[in-house]
Amino acid sequence: MDFVDIIFVVFALIVVVSAFIVVFSRSIIRSAFSLLFTFFGVAGLYVLLNADFLAVTQVLIYVGGILILILFGVMLTTNVVSVEIKTGTLQTVPAAVIVAVLSGTIAGIFWFTEWHTAPAREGPTTKALGTLFMTDYLLPFEIASILLLVALIGAAMIARHERGTEGGR
């Protein structure tokens, strides 16, 4: 077994196990911190796939941004005293059927299709990505930046605690 294979197996295990904990853990805080390992595992896989800039972006945005937001969300909405056990046993059977069909379909497609591949490109990707951002993908790039601005203002508006309304605590 090659060294790269071992690294792949390790990261794949981290991703799968931590994703399992995210979904099935009874403690929401454990789910949230487990998500940290999922994001890191995915970043590690990006490095293996030769996407160095993207791997660092993954850590920066997901771990440094989204995960912190989720943690804040958890902390602001959890009643510390109440224990949360409900996992929704009602829909288990239909859920199992749907999920089995869906994952079977996806895995089958992935496994039985003959993907035609080209030799992988080694080396840094930063320059290629920068060029693409400024040429072919300029419009989506600008739209994404406007989207982020709108989201920023919108989120601040929604979450703001307005004085004199009924919702106060």
């Binding site: 949230a32 994952s103 992935f110």
Partner: protein, 100 residues
């Protein structure tokens, strides 16, 4: 080199976990985390294709997905917090005032 299929199966597994989370969990924040899992699995697929085709376009798409995910996280959690303030709960099956 690891075959592309391995990455794809891994991302299918991750996506499945995400779907399970959305379907069976009641806490809206866990639903939210499951959505992030699904987005990550799609990103993994895109980066896998990008690496095995020697074409950085797949990575570009991932950047836009990440941007949308960040926007979604900010607005989504804002809504969750506003909801919690009004209803004191974040369980999706208790938030049913629009149900007729």
């Amino acid at each position: 080199m690891i075959p592309l299929d391995y990455y794809l199966i891994l991302s299918a597994l991750l996506f499945t976990f995400g779907v399970i989370g959305v379907v069976i969990r009641r806490n809206v924040i866990i639903v939210f985390m499951s959505i992030e899992l699904m987005l990550n699995s799609v990103n993994l697929t895109l980066v896998g294709y990008s690496a095995y085709l020697g074409d950085p376009t797949g990575q570009m798409l991932v950047f836009f997905v990440i941007a949308v995910a960040a926007a979604e996280a900010a607005v989504g959690l804002g809504i969750v917090i506003a909801l919690f303030r009004l209803r004191r709960t974040v369980n999706v099956d208790e938030i049913n005032i629009l149900k007729w």
